[in-house]
């Protein structure tokens, strides 16, 4: 605008204030922030993780391409949002999942989670989580069969179950293990905080390493790509609520410590990368607090009293559903108008 030939008079329609942040730029920040967690996923779960991520991204991008108008295709793919959805979904999958399910999940994420609502920015639910919810409901056993986290030497090891034919079951080679949350819920065993922090536990490929997820989250917070209120509210509520439950019920029961609550399962991954999705979270600061508190409360409630050991998925989806309502009731009042 400044290189206008005659800057004395500027005729321009609103919005008058512009900033550098565009959709592809915001997406780029999230891609960068996910790098450490993705690297950790590859480190702990080897080539299986790589294959799963590539397949779910392929499923998502391909679906976006198929369901977009011909003349908008290049534009829709190049904002990288579909690929990001695929990556996020891939990070929430168990390492031994058959690849065709990962592809289907990516496809459902975009098809049912985004395109059907009208495309980017119009969806009510987080697409990646919707895809995961579909997979969890459709293939409950495959989605809860966890291979153990491998180490450096096992990078080239691939789960044979990954290569099941479409529509067929995976043949699992290794003994399945339980996630830290599963151990807590069904066996009443705790996992050392050190392992939870580093990430060498069983679980979804991208959720185990708290350290690398925190790094990515910190980057997003520093770049102000996400609203700090949502993570703050989730962390505060979840740790406070689990502390209260722990104090009421005593330490020897299956009630986890606040730190265990924060570092286990998908809480960190969900908090930094899914709950803060600008499309599906509230717009107002007060709304963000309510949204985060709701997630923090629901996740602990579902983990302690639900049928499944992990509750982050449904906690976020439920609060996604409440977002329009929250937005409506937290709109700032117009000055001078009676409510």
């Amino acid at each position: 605008m400044m290189n206008n030939k005659d800057p004395k008079l500027l005729l321009q329609s609103a919005p008058l204030l512009r900033q550098e942040l565009t959709t592809p730029a915001a997406m780029k920040d999230v891609w960068i922030a996910l790098l450490p967690a993705t690297a950790a996923a590859l480190w702990f779960f080897g080539l299986s993780a790589l294959l799963l991520l590539v397949t779910s991204i392929a499923g998502a991008v391909l679906t976006e391409w198929v369901f977009t108008d011909k003349d908008k295709r290049r534009f829709a793919i190049s904002d990288t949002s579909a690929g990001l959805t695929g990556l996020l979904l891939g990070l929430t999958l168990p390492p031994g999942l058959p690849l065709w399910m990962a592809f289907l999940g990516g496809s459902v994420s975009i098809g049912l989670g985004k395109v059907i609502w009208g495309g980017l920015g119009t969806n009510l639910f987080n697409p990646a989580l919707l895809g995961r919810a579909f997979l969890l409901g459709t293939f409950p056993i495959a989605m809860t069969t966890w291979g153990p986290a491998g180490g450096p030497g096992e990078f080239f090891q691939i789960h044979s179950s990954n290569f099941a034919w479409p529509l067929m079951q995976g043949q699992y080679d290794a003994l399945s293990t339980a996630t830290p949350l599963g151990l807590m819920k069904f066996e009443h065993e705790t996992t050392a905080l050190g392992s939870l922090f580093m990430g060498n536990t069983a679980g979804s490929i991208g959720e185990t390493s708290s350290l690398f997820l925190l790094l990515g989250g910190l980057f997003l917070l520093l770049r102000r790509s996400i609203d700090w209120r949502i993570p703050a509210a989730i962390f505060l509520t979840a740790s406070l609520f689990s502390l209260i439950m722990l104090l009421i019920n005593g330490a020897d029961s299956n009630f986890p410590s606040p730190l265990f609550t924060l570092f286990s399962g998908g809480l960190l991954l969900g908090t930094f990368f899914m709950a803060t999705d600008p499309v599906t979270s509230p717009l107002t600061p007060r709304g963000c607090w309510i949204f985060g508190i709701g997630i923090g409360f629901l996740v602990v409630l579902i983990r302690l009293y639900g049928g499944l050991p992990e509750g982050m998925l449904y906690a976020i989806l439920l609060m996604n559903a409440a977002t329009p309502l929250i937005d409506r009731y937290t709109q700032p009042k117009i000055f001078g108008r009676k409510s």
């Binding site: 409950p140 056993i141 809860t144 069904f186 066996e187 049928g307």
Partner: protein, 224 residues
């Protein structure tokens, strides 16, 4: 045809409302005819339906109590277990099974309780002579298809209840971790449903074990 249609038209145009008695009369006629039809179909199907239900129950009892040829219903009333002939079942009733000679074999006890989704009805056979469960049958359940419904579709799981000692409370443990005689391998992916079945059996057994008569004093088969 045309006449009739004209009739309708004129009647709908007239502003005069039909009298209440006319309305009541048409309702009554319709209700009466409908009632007659319903009674007729009820009478027609009554025997078959009764037979179906009885056969279903009998088959279940025969399944959980092997080598049974006759059975009768026992009702616990006034602190006593007596033979009943009445139709229907309630929570205070169990079955006694007898062999061809009319000799007592064992009981078939029913229990129900909450499963993962809805109430599960369980029937299990019990031999008081060696305090063993002889078999288990799910009469009714709405557990998740493909997972929870394995409590009656997974024959390994159902088979675990054959000759299962119940002198100690039975327990469901994770698959492959069974060490004790009174333990059951739960179904992978359906732990809650498996545990529900075991809990229902334990509760029903505790309720009935004190009510059953001393061994040798079982009610005789009423051959009528």
């Amino acid at each position: 045809m045309t006449d009739k249609q004209d009739n309708i038209k004129t009647s709908s145009i007239t502003t005069e409302e039909p009298s209440s008695s006319r309305l009541i009369f048409s309702m009554a006629v319709a209700g009466f005819i409908s009632g007659i039809i319903i009674i007729a179909i009820y009478m027609l199907t009554f025997d078959t339906i009764k037979e179906n239900k009885a056969r279903e129950l009998r088959e279940a009892v025969f399944k959980v109590l092997p080598e049974v040829s006759f059975m009768q219903k026992l009702h616990f009333m006034d602190n006593k277990l007596g033979v009943v002939k009445a139709e229907g079942m309630d929570d205070e009733m169990i079955f006694a099974g007898y062999d061809k000679q009319g000799k007592f074999i064992g009981y078939a006890i029913q229990g129900k309780g909450p499963g993962f989704q809805d109430t599960i009805h369980v029937l299990f056979g019990y031999l008081s002579s060696n305090q063993n469960i002889t078999g288990m049958e799910i009469l009714d359940s709405r557990e998740t298809p493909g997972l929870g419904d394995k409590i009656f579709k997974d024959m390994d799981f159902v088979g675990e209840f054959i000759n299962l000692p119940i002198s100690k409370e039975i327990k469901a443990v994770k698959k492959g971790k069974k060490t004790q005689e009174n333990e059951i391998d739960a179904i992978t992916g359906a732990t809650i449903s498996s545990k529900a079945v075991v809990r229902i059996i334990n509760i029903a057994f505790n309720k009935w074990s004190s009510r059953l008569p001393q061994q040798g004093n079982e009610p005789l088969l009423d051959k009528n």
